[in-house]
C-alpha cells in the first residue's frame, strides 16, 4: 500500500477549509501552511486556494514563504492552484487597473510565477459576473465549475496542456507538476480534480 499523501494547504487567506474537507474525504492528510516554518517538512503536495490573490501574495512575501514555495514547485512537488492560486502561479498577468497602473508593478515581488501562462484577473467582471456551469475536462469528462470573480488564461506557453475551456476561454491547464484552474473545484461535490493532484 502506498504511503498516505500529506497535502500542504496554503492557509493565510481564502477558502482553504473547503480544500481541507475534500482532501480529508479522499483519505489523505493535510497540513495548514501559515508561515515559513510550516514548509519545512512532511508535505508532498501543495494546494493554493481561492481568495484574494493580492492579499495572499502580500502575506506570502512578507512572511518569507514565497521563495520557499517557489523552490518546492521548481523541485517538482505537485501543486494545484485554484482561482487566486492560479493567479499566484502565473508567470504574467494582463490586467490593467482603472487608474492606469498595471498589476505587474506588484506582481514582480508577490507572485510565484512558476507557470508559463498569462492570466487575466477578474476576467468575468465583478460579482454579478460570477457563475456556475459544467464543461469537459481533459481525461475526466464533464466537471461542475464554479467561477467567483474568476480569472481566465489568455496565453499558454510551450509545454502547457489546456485541460478545459468555457466559451472559448482557457480555464484549466497543466504544466509538468503544476495544475491550475480558474474555477473552484473545492466548492462543488466532485473530487476528481483533487484526486488528479493526489495521483500526480
Amino acid at each position: 500500500m502506498m504511503a498516505r499523501s500529506k497535502v500542504g494547504i496554503l492557509a493565510v487567506q481564502g477558502a482553504f477549509a473547503e480544500h481541507e474537507a475534500v482532501v480529508r474525504r479522499l483519505g489523505a492528510d493535510f497540513k495548514e501552511l501559515r508561515q515559513a516554518s510550516d514548509l519545512d517538512d512532511g508535505i508532498d503536495r501543495l494546494i493554493l486556494p481561492g481568495g484574494e490573490s493580492t492579499s495572499q501574495g502580500r502575506i506570502l512575501r512578507d512572511l518569507g514563504m514565497l521563495d520557499r514555495i517557489r523552490q518546492l514547485i521548481e523541485s517538482g512537488m505537485p501543486v494545484l492552484g485554484t482561482c487566486a492560486g492560479l493567479i499566484l502561479l502565473a508567470q504574467s498577468i494582463d490586467q490593467i487597473n482603472g487608474d492606469g497602473s498595471t498589476v505587474d508593478e506588484q506582481h514582480n515581488s508577490t507572485w510565484l510565477k512558476t507557470l508559463p501562462v498569462t492570466v487575466r484577473r477578474n476576467a468575468y467582471g465583478r460579482q454579478l459576473g460570477s457563475f456556475h456551469t459544467e464543461a469537459e475536462f481533459a481525461g475526466l469528462g464533464t466537471i461542475p465549475m464554479t467561477f467567483i470573480r474568476a480569472p481566465f488564461i489568455t496565453q499558454v506557453g510551450d509545454g502547457v496542456e489546456t485541460l478545459a475551456e468555457v466559451d472559448g476561454e482557457v480555464v484549466a491547464v497543466r504544466y509538468k507538476n503544476q495544475l491550475g484552474t480558474s474555477f473552484h473545484p473545492e466548492l462543488d461535490d466532485d473530487a476528481r480534480i483533487h484526486q488528479m493532484l493526489l495521483s500526480m
Binding site: A11, V12, Q13, G14, A15, F16, A17, E18, R34, Q35, G50, G51, E52, T54, S55, R58, I59, D62, L63, C83, A84, Q95, N97, G98, D99, V103, Q106, R121, N122, G125, R126, Q127, L128, S130, F131, H132, T146, I148, R149, H184, L187
Partner: protein, 291 residues
C-alpha cells in the same frame, strides 16, 4: 436562477475568509488597504467614528465616490446602505458593487422592515448580535453575517459579546433533539429550515465575520480565536497614527491568529491607536438598530 445566485454570493464570502475588510473613504486609502493585504474594502464617505462625531442623518455614500474606489483597486468593493432602504441598494447594484452592507452604522430608513435581499443579484452582508438576528437576516437573503459590535468606538467589548453569544446559541441548537427544533424556531423567530441547518452543520449557514471596535492586531486575533472567520476594521486603521503599518500588522495577525510571538512583534511601534470611547459612555447605541 435566484437559488444559484444566492449560492454564488455565499461562495464569494467564503473567498474572503481569513481576511481583513477595511473601511476606506478615498481612492488613496483604498490603495493603501489593498497594498497592505486587505481582502476587500468598504467604501464610505465617513468612517463610523466620524459619523458618530458629526451626528445627524447618515446615508449611502455618493456613487461617484464609490466608483472612484472601484477604479483604484482590483479587490472586491463593499458599500453601506441604510437598514430598509431598498432604493439605495438598487443604486449600488446598478453601479455593480460587489457586496452591500445593510448597516446599522447609517441611520435606519425603516424601523420595521429590512430589505428583501432575495430580490437582488448583488450579495448582502448584515450585522447580528445573536443567532435569531443572524438567521432572520439570512432568511431575508443575506449571504454573509458580521457581528454588530459598537461601531466607531474602538471598544471591542460588544463584538466579543456578540460572537460569544452566537457561538453559544449555535452549540445549544446543535445539542437539541430533532423534536425540540420546532419550539426553538419559534423562540428564535426564524424559519424552521434554518434552525435545522444550524443543528445539522453546527455552524451558521453563511460566513461570519467580526466587526465593531477592532483597533489592534490583538483585537483582530482575539476575534479570530473566538471563532470569527475574518474581520472588518472600520475606524481602527485610518483613525490611527500609522495606517499603513497598522493595516499590514492586522492582516498578518489574522493570518496567524494563534501565533502570540508573531503578534507580539506585529504589535510593536504601531504608533498611536485610535483614541476611542468606551462603548458604555456613548449616547447613540448603533447596535440597537434593526433586530
Amino acid at each position: 436562477m435566484a437559488q444559484n445566485r444566492n449560492e454564488l454570493n455565499r461562495q464569494l464570502a467564503q473567498m474572503l475568509k481569513g481576511g481583513v475588510i477595511m473601511d476606506v473613504t478615498t481612492p488613496d486609502q483604498a490603495r493603501i488597504a489593498e497594498a497592505a493585504g486587505a481582502c476587500a474594502v468598504m467604501a464610505l464617505e465617513r468612517i463610523p467614528a466620524d459619523i458618530r462625531a458629526a451626528g445627524g442623518v447618515s446615508r449611502m455614500s455618493d456613487p461617484k465616490m464609490i466608483k472612484g474606489i472601484q477604479q483604484a483597486v482590483s479587490i472586491p468593493i463593499m458599500a453601506k446602505v441604510r437598514i430598509g432602504h431598498f432604493v439605495e441598494a438598487q443604486i449600488l447594484q446598478a453601479i455593480q458593487i460587489d457586496y452591500i452592507d445593510e448597516s446599522e452604522v447609517l441611520t435606519p430608513a425603516d424601523d420595521t422592515y429590512h430589505i428583501d435581499k432575495t430580490a437582488f443579484g448583488v450579495p448582502f452582508v448584515c450585522g447580528a448580535r445573536d443567532l435569531g438576528e443572524a438567521l432572520r437576516r439570512i432568511a431575508e437573503g443575506a449571504t454573509m453575517i458580521r457581528t454588530k459590535g459598537e461601531p466607531g468606538t474602538g471598544d471591542v467589548v460588544q463584538a466579543v459579546r456578540h460572537m460569544r453569544l452566537i457561538n453559544r446559541e449555535i452549540a445549544h441548537v446543535a445539542s437539541l433533539r430533532d423534536d425540540e427544533l420546532f419550539d426553538e424556531a419559534k423562540r428564535l423567530q426564524v424559519p424552521l429550515q434554518l434552525v435545522r441547518e444550524v443543528h445539522d452543520s453546527k455552524r451558521l449557514p453563511v460566513v461570519n465575520f467580526a466587526a465593531g471596535g477592532i483597533a489592534t492586531p490583538a483585537d483582530a486575533a482575539l476575534m479570530m480565536q473566538l471563532g470569527a472567520e475574518g474581520v472588518f476594521v472600520g475606524s481602527g486603521i485610518f483613525k490611527s497614527g500609522n495606517p499603513k503599518k497598522r493595516a499590514e500588522a492586522i492582516v498578518k495577525a489574522v493570518a496567524n491568529y494563534r501565533d502570540a510571538e508573531l503578534i507580539a512583534k506585529l504589535s510593536e511601534d504601531l504608533g498611536e491607536a485610535m483614541v476611542g470611547i468606551n462603548a458604555d459612555e456613548i449616547e447613540l447605541i448603533m447596535e440597537e438598530r434593526g433586530k
